[in-house]
Symmetry: C2
Subunit: 203 residues, 2 copies
């Protein structure tokens, strides 16, 4: 946006930019990643193909940007001092997002394509997934310093213990992702990570 | 096989049957589920299309049978009396299977297709996945009776705590599925499920 444009041109650019990102997410949900074309995106967004190529070198980079916009910023997680309560909030929000139509359909399409396209999968993980896992890991690191998580815990595994069950249930559609389910997973996972001799356990 | 065939015809049938199942798994890995055709399967297996249609009403039922054969029988899990040791064995075996080429490529293709085809996904889960989750749940139920898992634990969530992290790591390719990783997940998950007041914890 800092290419010496007039304010009006800047606003038009911004509107086109947003329209393109929105079109990408819609179309990935409707037709999947593989069949998505720059032509279809341009038509849906009401812009010329050259406008798209000016900002993105290829379809992959555009789709990643669109999903980054969909997922929003990775802000630090809540820290009330109670890691179990905080992780319940986080997992409830994750469950709600996974099940919201605007997120679910395009996310399943991208997950499907990632199975067939390891390069896309790697970009998706590095750009979108890993930052989100990192903020969870950072919250657990704070809990570890506060003595709520055992000193020797492998925090990468700890994160997977929290998000893995939700992801398994969502992706394989084995059962509903309810808020109560999110709470139970948070309770069990944090019980696993508790320092020896501290109270509480699942069940 | 009990249609009054001669022994020779029975053996030929069995060979054709196995050749078809093998061809299906290979071709799902090579071209994905969506582009798979009965013609391609027949050609690869060296049988006529009618032979296939005689045994399977459609592509979906054939692919499910082929994956059932690939995955083998769902035998009860080991029970040495030590649920942590037993689950380490099970998760190590699961990790090794997920990463073996004969299993990984077709499984990713089927997982991808399941995201786009909820009916196929449901059949896959009901026929193949749920029986495998059930034997894990049954092993945990035995541990619950033996006092190694807390009485109030939701065993469905417990199973997801064990398999969810491996599945998340495998599907998203975030890190290698090593035997040590499988051990750590088993230790953490079982620590979460332990009855109050019993010893041990992660880390």
């Amino acid at each position: 946006m800092s290419e010496g444009k007039t304010p009006d041109a800047g606003r038009r650019s911004e509107r086109s930019h947003q329209a393109i990102l929105k079109a990408v997410v819609e179309l990935v949900g409707e037709m999947g990643y593989a069949r998505l074309t720059i032509e279809a995106i341009a038509a849906r967004a009401g812009v010329g193909k050259q406008t798209i190529y000016r900002w993105w070198p290829n379809k992959g980079s555009l789709v990643l940007d669109a999903f980054a916009a969909l997922m929003g910023d990775t802000a630090p997680l809540p820290d009330t001092g109670d890691v179990v309560a905080d992780m319940k909030l986080v997992l409830r929000a994750t469950a709600a997002e996974l099940c919201s139509p605007r997120f679910e359909v395009p996310s399943r399409a991208l997950t499907a394509e990632s199975q067939l396209d390891p390069a896309l999968a790697k970009q998706f993980v590095d750009t979108l997934l890993r930052p989100s896992l990192e903020v969870t890991k950072e919250r657990l690191r704070v809990a570890q310093r506060a003595g709520q998580v055992a000193a020797g815990v492998d925090l990468d595994v700890a994160v997977e213990l929290l998000v893995g069950p939700l992801f398994h249930r969502w992706l394989l559609r084995t059962a509903p992702l309810t808020p109560e389910y999110a709470d139970t997973v948070a309770e069990y996972a944090l019980a696993a990570l508790r320092p020896p001799g501290t109270s509480g356990s699942a069940g």
